[in-house]
């Protein structure tokens, strides 16, 4: 039984191939302008890495913001459901997920079967998402992957609005003009994202054994501030960006088993 999960997010597209209940390969790339094209590239590259032919795939399930644009998928499911299934598989017993993606953030509580029991998603605004990090990195002339490490050296993070990317940008420029160190500026950005996401996540009361996923989970600075805001230790999977695609592959496997 060979299945694929595809997660087309606003920032990155991910595909994962699963065979016999094990992960065979995965691939991540920027979504770019075309969902259809991104889906084609990630599936082809994942298949190549797994060393299997597309014609051998028994079922494909698409998730993420662009899921309805994946024409070759047998079925679609929301990323909320797929994250839950993916994390339950990776970290059995996990009860909460905090996911910060490119354009949205969400908090999900799951039960002991990996089913969603409560969730919340940001609305309408890019504050508290990966996009916020990208905008701020540009202003600070830093690489996005360096932000976390730099923030850890801060002794006093600056205070930045946690509600609006546009206002935050103005505030950051003002702090820079006042001569604040790059470490304190960067830490301020990380803290701002953490406050925004924690404010949302606390509404569904995340519990112990909480997992942090999405591209922003790779940022050690955001993780540190988020743990402080939530009062919880967060587990970050080895590759936090593929949990949605993994969940999609697991749901694909279940669907296939149901139909056979």
């Amino acid at each position: 039984m060979l299945v694929a999960g595809i997660d087309v997010g606003a920032a990155t597209a991910k595909a994962l191939i699963m065979g016999g209940g094990s992960v065979l390969s995965y691939f991540i790339m920027p979504t770019g302008a075309s969902v259809k094209q991104a889906a084609e590239v990630v599936i082809e590259e994942s298949l190549r890495r797994a060393g299997v032919q597309r014609s051998n795939l028994d079922y494909v399930l698409a998730t993420g913001w662009g899921r309805h644009g994946v024409g070759f998928a047998n079925k679609t499911a929301t990323e909320i459901w797929c994250h839950a299934k993916g994390i339950h598989f990776l970290i059995p017993g996990a009860s909460s997920i905090i996911d910060i993606g490119g354009q949205d953030s969400k908090a999900i509580n799951i039960d002991d079967e990996g089913d969603v029991v409560n969730f919340i998603m940001n609305d309408k605004c890019a504050a508290g998402t990966g996009r916020f990090c990208e905008v701020m990195a540009v202003i600070l002339h830093l690489k996005i992957e360096d932000l976390g490490e730099i923030a850890l050296s801060s002794d006093k993070p600056v205070s930045i609005s946690s509600t609006c990317t546009v206002f935050a940008e103005t505030e950051l420029v003002a702090h820079r003009a006042e001569g604040e160190s790059v470490e304190n500026l960067t830490a301020g950005v990380m803290q701002s994202i953490a406050k925004r996401v924690a404010g949302m996540a606390l509404q569904i009361r995340p519990t112990e054994k909480a997992v942090f996923t999405g591209g922003v989970a790779k940022n050690i600075g955001v993780k540190k501030f988020l743990e402080k805001e939530l009062g919880l230790e967060l587990i970050v999977p080895e590759e936090p960006q593929i949990t949605g695609a993994l969940g999609a592959a697991l749901v694909a496997k279940t669907e296939l088993e149901k139909s056979s």
Binding site: N118, K124, Q203
Partner: protein, 468 residues
């Protein structure tokens, strides 16, 4: 245009008689052939219920009246959301020579509802270009009215009327409208500060305050317009008509609640809901007939076993309901597997409201205040929550999407309290920030993820309940 009018259930006689007025009004409103084609496409793909099309036809008639009042009437009152429905009905009986209507909802449906989003979005954008940004302390209904006034789309009226009965937004808008156009305004205030837990008792103090405030508003209107006060019989007729309208609307909900699945597409009820909140006396008989037809159409579908959604689909309610004019956004709810049995709590008549019997107060203004206060959601957050908890039992709901208009003073504030209260009772709930008047806030896809995830969650909980 004739084809579109037929789609809106205009009779041949009506078309023949009304076409010159309609053409004149649409020309004045800059409705183009392209807009008319867009309208035909909307009514080809959506709104399968004849009654809904009739209601849309009534919105068009009201829009034509609005565009032509300067030619046809002596004076005009512009009501602003949230206003006094009975007052607008009454004006038709007492002073038919005066144009009186809710300009925001008439423009919303008369442009965007019939001819598509770009027509109503225009007024929102004009408002934004003139300083009233989206979400900035004004709901988008107020924003639409402001856009229509500031752009000069509407002639200046003789009076603006609005209420502070639930929030201060319309009153602030009236002050602004007066500032822009010079026309005076009249408002009425109420008090929503009763003690926690008072419900269901109705106290004398707020009832008397409502009555006095309404009396003041009417007296101000009479003074400003130089008109005689309506007679008691005219008041009685307006109140009776409005009560019948609500009862007929309530019958529709009874049918939805009793139905195993969902008989019609979700978008159908949306134009009808707003007609109940902001009605017009001149079209009262047509509204009543359309409501009765709607219920009959639902019953016919049920009798034939014609369901859009089957009985296993989760039954839910909302707070403000789906988008009022964009059928694609309303349809998303059912596409995501949610049967929206009661779109908005405010429009559902609770059993205790009908069982309440005779009014406690003798004066008709006190009785209007009493009726408002009986409807929990305008009293305080506690009553809003109580109402929802009761509704989930009566309507056999599986979950609630707490989806207020995100800058609504009354409904957005208690959203998370409501979610918590529902969850304490074991009812799945999700908060969804949305805007039922402004289709620009959400794309269908952004809505879809949240609603689909909620639907999956409710189904999973139902499955586990059954297996236990």
């Amino acid at each position: 245009m004739e084809k579109l009018l037929k789609m809106l259930e205009f009779s041949d006689e009506e078309i023949k008689e009304q076409m010159p007025r309609i053409e004149k009004a649409l020309e004045r409103a800059k409705i183009t052939e392209e807009d008319i084609e867009r309208g035909k496409e909307i009514f080809t793909n959506y709104y399968e219920m004849r009654a809904t099309r009739k209601i849309m036809g009534l919105w068009l008639k009201r829009f034509v009246d609005l565009m032509l009042w300067k030619d046809e009437k002596k004076k005009a009152i512009y009501h602003i959301h949230l206003g006094v429905p009975r007052y607008n009905i009454l004006m038709h009986y007492a002073h038919p020579e005066i144009y009186s209507d809710f300009i925001d909802s008439v423009i919303l449906y008369g442009t965007g509802g019939i001819f598509g989003n770009p027509k109503s979005n225009y007024f929102l954008e004009v408002a934004e270009a003139n300083g009233m940004e989206q979400t900035q302390a004004q709901c988008s209904m107020n924003q639409m009215a402001y856009g229509a006034l500031v752009s000069g789309f509407l002639p200046v009226p003789d009076l603006y009327v609005g209420g502070r009965q639930q929030c201060d937004q319309s009153a602030k808008l009236l002050e602004l409208a007066t500032e822009i156009t010079g026309a005076p305004f009249a408002t009425f205030d109420t008090c929503r500060d009763e003690a926690w837990g008072t419900f269901p008792e109705i106290l004398d103090r707020p009832v008397n305050y409502w009555a006095k405030q309404m009396d003041r508003c009417f007296k101000d209107s009479e003074r400003i317009l130089g008109i005689e006060a309506p007679s008691v019989d005219q008041w009685r007729q307006a109140r009776k008509d409005y009560a019948i309208m609500w009862l007929l609307f309530s019958n529709i909900f009874d049918t939805y609640i009793a139905a195993e699945g969902r008989p019609d597409h979700t978008e159908n009820l949306q134009p009808m809901r707003w007609a109940v909140l902001e009605p017009h006396g001149h079209y009262m008989d047509e509204y009543k007939a359309a409501f009765q037809l709607y219920n009959q159409e639902l019953k016919d579908k049920i009798a034939k076993g014609q369901y859009v959604l089957d009985k296993d689909v989760p039954r839910v309610s909302s707070v403000c309901g789906p988008n009022l004019i964009d059928p694609t956004l309303s349809r998303v709810w059912e596409e995501c597997g949610l049967n929206l049995v009661i779109p908005a709590s405010a429009e559902w008549i609770a059993p205790w409201e009908l069982a309440g019997g005779a009014h406690k107060y003798p004066d008709f203004l006190q009785r209007i205040g009493e009726s408002y206060i009986k409807k929990g959601y305008v009293r305080c957050g506690y009553d809003h929550i109580y109402r929802f908890l009761e509704m989930t039992k009566v309507a056999r709901l599986d979950g609630v999407v707490v989806a207020p208009q995100f800058s609504c003073r009354i409904l957005a504030a208690p959203a998370y309290y409501l979610k918590e209260a529902l969850e304490r009772e074991g009812i799945p709930a999700m908060v969804l920030e949305q805007d039922p008047f402004d289709p620009r806030v959400h794309t269908a896809e952004a809505l879809r993820t949240r609603l689909e995830a909620f639907s999956e969650m409710v189904r999973s909980r139902k499955r586990k309940k059954v297996s236990v």
